[in-house]
Amino acid sequence: MRLGSFLIGFAALICAAVVKDPWPIHFTDVAAKAGLSAINVSGDINKKKYILEMNGSGLAFLDYNGDGLVDLFVVNGTTLDPDGTSTKPVSHLYRNNGDGTFTDVTREAGVSYSGWGQGACAGDFDNDGREDLFVTYYGKNRLYHNNGDGTFAEIAERAGVAGANGRWNSGCAFVDYDRDGKVDLFVANYVDLGPNFSNVPSPGSGEFCQYKGIPIACGPRGLPKAPNFLYHNNGDGTFTDVSEKAGIRSTDGHYALGVLTFDYDNDGWPDIYVACDSAASILYHNRRDGTFEDTGIASGLAYNEDGEAQAGMGVAALDYDHDGHLDVVKTNFSDDSPNLYHNNGDGTFSDRVFQAGLGRLRNYLGWGVIATDFDNDGWTDLLIVDGHLTPDIDSARSDSSYRQRKVLYRNLGNGRFADVTADAGTEMARLHSSRGAATADLSNDGRMAIAVNELHESPSLLVPETPARNHWIGIRLVGTKSNRDGIGARVEVESGGMRQIDEVRSGGSYLSQSDLRLHFGLGATVRAEHITVRWPSGTVDRINGIPPDRHIVIHEGSQTFISGAALTVTGTKSLAGH
């Protein structure tokens, strides 16, 4: 008998035992108690005249003040008649006080702005060690440069990423597509509404202005499509629109929403996947020469397995079966299923949504999607947040409804997922019309909290009630040759016979940003045997014997880690070279 095989088999048994336990995590919505009180505004609450009023907004977790506690930026929309309201709605920045509460610092941070906010993504675009924030709008985008003193300066116009008035920018992500050490910026666009909605027919007036026999706001089908944008970081605080040159415009028009950057073919170059609504989703394959080609159809990521268009909303990457390839989850419209695109490792994907048990809830309209290991058993779980377009839907008496529950799927470790929402606390199952969703370790204790932007409500902040049951490790990367955040770096964690991978990622989900730190559950294993970081620069760091239940920081090329808890160097030189 080979010892290696025995150990792996034993580890599998341990994992299997973990999986068979009842779902251990109950979530409580602490938003109100924590002070996340601002109400989302997205046009009229009851009557939606335009599709713009229905799509809602995302949110972003980022540590804006560098205190080690992740803060929250909640994107907000506005009304069709902002002048008619006494107070203009703005997006809100909430500072994490570290005691379970947040303080609204919107005004003092300089991010108080009213408009049709859509999405947000974080990234240190000037490599100054401070997280910057990009916010997309219907209208001109905002690039908030972090001043390092708790304030931001809005520089989108100066930096060349504001775009034009009337553009409907949606998902975004910082991505170092040319691996030059500076993050560039990808911005998806949804619909060309035209000036003053001139391209939009009135509700109920056409084929694409009906839903199940009731008149609703028109679109996206039937409306003009809008192009996506790629901005190259010039390294001097400005960007250049390289969309044409880079092949971003070579695809036909799409109604683009969620953006996911990931290296699907493991070639070390970041690719970009864009979830599109009622059209082929796009997989921008990085050709390693500054250009991209759309391999959506060839790879199987453009449509469902049959070639049927889907209404893609949110996206997430995860290696759900530990085969070393990043798979993709995409949320879709109601009367459809999400996708679980299994990465076949040969440049193609197969939709295994039904095999995996994710295809049964077809009356849910999915938006945000989070892939993280909530119970820290070493298998990445999924959370999909749902909600229909408009309250009018309820008058159709259909099986779908405007307010819907979130669905928490537990990864069973055998290629299948189980809906454990009912076991995750009543507040997880509470009905909302949810849009953007993101996750972060707010208290730095391995419990992944969930923030959700709820349409016409204050956000939800679902926090695990009890301490993390299994072991875990959080990893923050600091690039030196690579971009400072390590965005695009591939991290592999080996522990207890399991090999997990993930990448540092800007953007994702539905127009949202999760914690830039990576989170890995370790199950019952009391240490991570190896952590390997493949940086965008090509540098590889390998660290061994990492104790669990802490956040660590890995500086590029250091072959060591710093414990986030004690901030002491506890790592050793990689044994890989020995």
């Binding site: 009731i214 159809i297 060839a298 049959d306 049927e308 209404a311 049964r360 159709a396």
Partner: protein
């Protein structure tokens, strides 16, 4: 056809028998009370005696034929009518009687010839109406329309003739003429509204649905009016209206399988899957062998992700002697989605579906997918090509063809297939399936 004021054949016989003598007519009058009383044996005896007394009397043989017919002595009746026609070749009443008998016995061609002959030889209104209706029953709608037009000239105000003429014209495919015939009929009667609605629909006039709906509202107990009204509304994507029509009708006829099936279809299209499943289940309770309801139920369970129930429902239907091909196809769809281990069974179900209906493109598409998974791209390509050939507007085969070509490095062919796929446009699964199911489950366009 609607039979109003249908002629009394005996009377026509008398009116049309100009060549008869007064004696045999008097004889016939003496027998009529017996027929009226229902004393058929005595009438038969009397008429037999009469034919001996007046062997050249066509009207007596005709009357004897009528009595035989009433007695159920069909062969003798036919013989008597033929004898009458031998004696009086243009004897309209006998022609109509014999035609009616032929028609009853399934000899529509012979019957139609007799009806035509009768119509050609008479100007009598009732005879023309009878011949017109007879021709319609023999499915000679053009002939019926011609004959009924002649009747209408005689009595332009006859609502029955107008209705039947319009119906004959409509069935003959002459909807414009049918529309003109019915145009001036202000009758609010449900069947007139219904017919006008059907005619307008066939002319592409969306207002036709309103006429059918009005017929349904006036007569909610009519399964036909209300199920057709709901179908017409659904064709215009007015699913709420469809349900509003069919629900009151269902209160009057809760066991109507037609209404339940149409209600289920409307509920399905409105996303009220739970209600639709309930309706289909009820329809199946009343008519367990009804494939359409079973297909609807199985399809909905499949659509809503309840694959195990879908499989149970569909496979129960497959136990029947000659199930519809779509049940086998559904079985394959369900098995395919259920788990990879059911691929062999799914393929077998597809073989059955294709055997039963070799012109259903989605079956080839699904078989192609299975073959593709089994790493048999050549066979898969053949199936996709066949699917595309059967239904040139079906985009999905081109998607798969593009994938195969692309993986084989056949870039030109891949690009061509991709372009064709893009030209045809891809719908969402819900829409694709809904259209497919609607095609299968909804009654055909009039």
């Amino acid at each position: 056809m609607r039979r109003r004021n249908l002629l009394l054949v005996i009377i026509v016989a008398l009116r049309c028998s100009a060549q008869s003598s007064h004696q045999d007519q008097d004889y016939l009058f003496s027998v009529l009370p017996l027929i009226d009383r229902g004393d058929l044996s005595a009438a038969e005896r009397q008429l037999l005696q009469g034919t001996k007394q007046f062997p050249g009397s066509g009207i007596l043989y005709n009357a004897l034929g009528i009595v035989y017919r009433k007695e159920g002595k069909i062969d003798r009746a036919a013989g008597s009518f033929r004898k009458a026609l031998e004696l009086l070749p243009s004897f309209t009443a006998a022609q109509l009687q014999l035609a009616s008998l032929d028609q009853q016995q399934g000899n529509k061609r012979e019957a139609a010839e007799l009806y035509r002959a009768a119509a050609n030889g008479t100007t009598n209104f009732e005879a023309l109406v009878a011949a017109g209706l007879g021709l319609a029953d023999c499915e000679d709608y053009s002939g019926a329309a011609g004959v009924l037009s002649k009747a209408k000239v005689q009595k332009p105000d006859s609502s029955a003739v107008t209705y039947n003429l319009a119906l004959a014209q409509f069935k003959a495919g002459d909807s414009p003429a049918a529309f003109i015939t019915l145009r001036d009929t202000g009758s609010p009667e449900p069947d007139v509204l219904y017919l006008r609605g059907r005619i307008m629909e066939s002319l592409g006039d969306r207002q036709g649905a309103n006429q059918i709906a009005a017929a349904c509202r006036l007569q909610p107990a009519s399964e036909t009016f209300c199920s057709d009204a709901a179908v017409a509304a659904m064709r215009q994507d007015k699913f709420v209206d469809a349900l509003d029509l069919v629900e009151p009708a269902l209160q009057k006829s809760p066991a109507s399988v037609a209404l339940l099936s149409v209600a289920a279809l409307a509920q399905f299209r409105l996303g009220r899957y739970g209600e639709a499943i309930h309706s289909y289940r009820a329809a199946l309770d009343y008519a367990p062998n009804l494939d359409a309801a079973r297909e609807g139920l199985g399809f909905l369970c499949y659509m809503t992700g309840d694959l195990e129930t879908a499989r149970t429902v569909v496979e129960a239907g497959l136990q029947h002697s000659s199930p519809d091909f779509y049940l086998s196809y559904l079985d394959a769809l369900i098995l395919y989605r259920l788990a990879p281990q059911w691929r062999v069974q799914a393929a077998a179900a597809l073989e059955r579906a294709i055997h039963a209906n070799s012109r259903f493109a989605p079956a080839y598409f699904l078989r192609g997918k299975i073959l593709m998974e089994q790493n048999n791209p050549a066979a898969a390509l053949m199936d996709f090509e066949r699917a595309a050939q059967i239904d040139p507007k079906y985009p999905l085969p081109y998607f798969k063809m593009a994938q195969i070509y692309s993986r084989q490095g056949r870039t030109t062919e891949a690009e061509s297939a991709r372009r064709r796929f893009a030209e045809l446009g891809s719908l969402r699964e819900e829409e694709m399936l809904a259209r497919q199911a609607q095609d299968i489950l909804m009654p055909a366009q009039p």
